[in-house]
């Protein structure tokens, strides 16, 4: 943990060296999801509602998934950009150090400009919560936090999975975008508007539905039956991380350097 914090502070200072660009980037990161959110707002502006979902309900869903995404992009960037470590052969250097591989890769890169994105998601979240007639309870607040935390784990798991692929393919794969960016785009609307195969895939294979749509039903008071099942859903989603870690282990053992 100490080491991780050290990595954090080094990266933070080095990124602040290009000050103007850093702030511009942060600002840009604020505006990317902002324009997507504006699109969502404008669609509701024109159509009124989306099949029984009101604008603020969807905004809450949007806020949760974007928060999870931006946090994972900021702190798990090392895995996201892993192919560059392999291509340059820098991974060998990590291997000879007596620390955990996963930790070192995690520490190899952070994207602090994603703060802009986090800020934007936080604003959306706050705005949506302020405008929704939810009677908050402790359990609901915990569920909301769990949703974000487990969402981060899922995104990180996907990064790890595709980082592991790099052991065999060397180059990063663009398909990863389907699961990260695509998952994000998909999960910012309620899952029930999609076709059957999309629902199935994103509930049982990559469990975005578990950290977003299902517990959200509970928070918005749309459920029938015992609520504990809905509350625990995010934890079930977080199980996704386990096979990812396992595959990562296998990948590290199979690693052969590119020799450059």
């Amino acid at each position: 943990m100490n080491l991780y914090l050290k990595y954090l502070s080094i990266q933070f200072r080095s990124q602040l060296q290009y000050r103007a660009s850093f702030w511009l980037l942060t600002l840009g990161q604020f505006f990317i999801p902002f324009s997507v959110f504006a699109g969502l707002y404008l669609l509701f502006d024109r159509f009124g509602q989306l099949q029984s979902w009101s604008f603020f309900e969807v905004a809450l869903i949007f806020g949760v998934i974007h928060m999870a995404f931006s946090v994972s992009e900021c702190f798990a960037r090392g895995f996201d950009a892993f192919s560059s470590l392999i291509v340059r052969g820098d991974f060998d250097r990590l291997l000879v150090r007596p620390r955990s591989m996963a930790l070192q890769v995690l520490g190899s890169q952070f994207e602090f400009t994603r703060f802009g994105r986090m800020l934007q998601s936080a604003v959306v979240l706050a705005w949506a919560i302020a405008n929704l007639p939810i009677d908050w309870s402790f359990a609901k607040a915990v569920t909301l936090l769990l949703m974000i935390a487990c969402g981060v784990l899922i995104f990180t798991g996907i990064y790890m999975l595709f980082a592991t692929m790099c052991f065999w393919t060397v180059q990063g794969l663009e398909v990863a975008n389907v699961f990260t960016d695509g998952g994000r785009e998909m999960a910012q609307y309620p899952l029930n508007i999609y076709g059957r195969w999309v629902k199935m895939f994103f509930t049982f294979v990559i469990p975005f539905g578990c950290v977003n749509y299902l517990p959200m039903l509970y928070i918005l008071g749309r459920t029938s039956g015992p609520s504990i099942g809905y509350m625990a859903m995010p934890l079930a989603g977080a199980l996704f991380m386990l096979p990812c870690l396992l595959i990562w282990r296998i990948g590290v053992r199979h690693y052969r350097s590119v020799g450059s």
């Binding site: 660009s21 505006f31 669609l43 159509f47 009124g48 989306l50 998909m186 999309v198």
Partner: protein
């Protein structure tokens, strides 16, 4: 001219090397297209009359064309080589070459986008014409619309490259590409109708979009394709595209000359 053709050809061949990457890209774009269409289908299923400006079929072709010609229309398709040239000082070599740097880069960027499109266009086109139900891409209403679409798409491509040239040139001042690219491309893509189609925007935003160059690269050709803008009207608007291209080319050339005059490359 021969120089540019050969630069173009080199870029093209380079792009062709990454076939697997292209295949992965095709899968990605199909997925995104499907997701977007599902969202619009859900919105339109409510049968609200507010959306009368553009029909669901027209939206579907709008979305698919966006995915198919993504490499033509996206602004952030950037060439890190050029950025590195500028920040590392290797631009000095570029300046020694016996032809204009503006047109050299322009040809390079154009070739890159074309090769990316050729690899992705046909497979996606093939798939989306055979999709079931609401997801299928409809053929354009008339041959005239198709011709008009192709013409305006090509002009749009020239326009996008001219805009992205400005982004490269801005690096001469900022020295770090990421920030300025991001801000311009986010705004540009929004007003090109990449987030939501321009006809679905409220009145005042549509007016803003009409004032800016961006929508002429994507929104305009796609609406011509689906017949949302009739052929007769489209022919009347193509000169606006030409005007924008001319203006952007002139401005780009001028600012590049200014940047080069101030340029200092330290030895090494």
């Amino acid at each position: 001219m021969r120089v540019f053709v050969s630069i173009w050809r080199l870029r093209f061949l380079l792009g062709m090397q990454y076939r697997t990457a292209a295949l992965a890209g095709v899968a990605t774009q199909l997925f995104f297209g499907l997701i977007f269409i599902m969202i619009y289908v859900a919105f339109y299923a409510q049968g609200s009359a507010n959306a009368a400006d553009i029909s669901l079929e027209q939206i579907v072709s709008y979305v698919w064309l966006q995915q198919i010609f993504l490499s033509f229309i996206m602004l952030w398709y950037r060439d890190n080589e050029i950025f590195q040239l500028i920040t590392s000082g290797n631009i000095a070599y570029e300046l020694c070459r016996p032809f204009g740097i503006y047109s050299f880069w322009y040809a390079k960027l154009l070739g890159q986008r074309l090769s990316a499109a050729v690899l992705r266009c046909l497979p996606i086109l093939f798939v989306v014409y055979f999709l079931p139900g609401p997801y299928r891409l409809q053929a354009p209403p008339s041959p005239a619309a198709l011709t008009c679409f192709l013409l305006s798409l090509l002009l749009g491509l020239l326009l996008v490259v001219s805009v992205s040239m400005l982004i490269y040139i801005s690096v001469f001042w900022t020295m770090s590409p990421t920030g300025s690219t991001l801000v311009i491309s986010v705004a540009g893509e929004f007003f090109a109708g990449m987030i939501i189609p321009v006809p679905l925007m409220p009145e005042w935003l549509q007016k803003t979009a009409n004032f800016l160059p961006f929508r002429w690269s994507a929104d305009f050709p796609f609406r011509v394709y689906s017949g949302q803008i009739p052929v007769r009207e489209a022919i009347g608007q193509i000169p606006a595209q030409l005007l924008w291209i001319a203006a952007l080319l002139a401005f780009g050339g001028w600012s590049l000359r200014r940047a080069l005059r101030k340029l200092v490359v330290q030895g090494g």
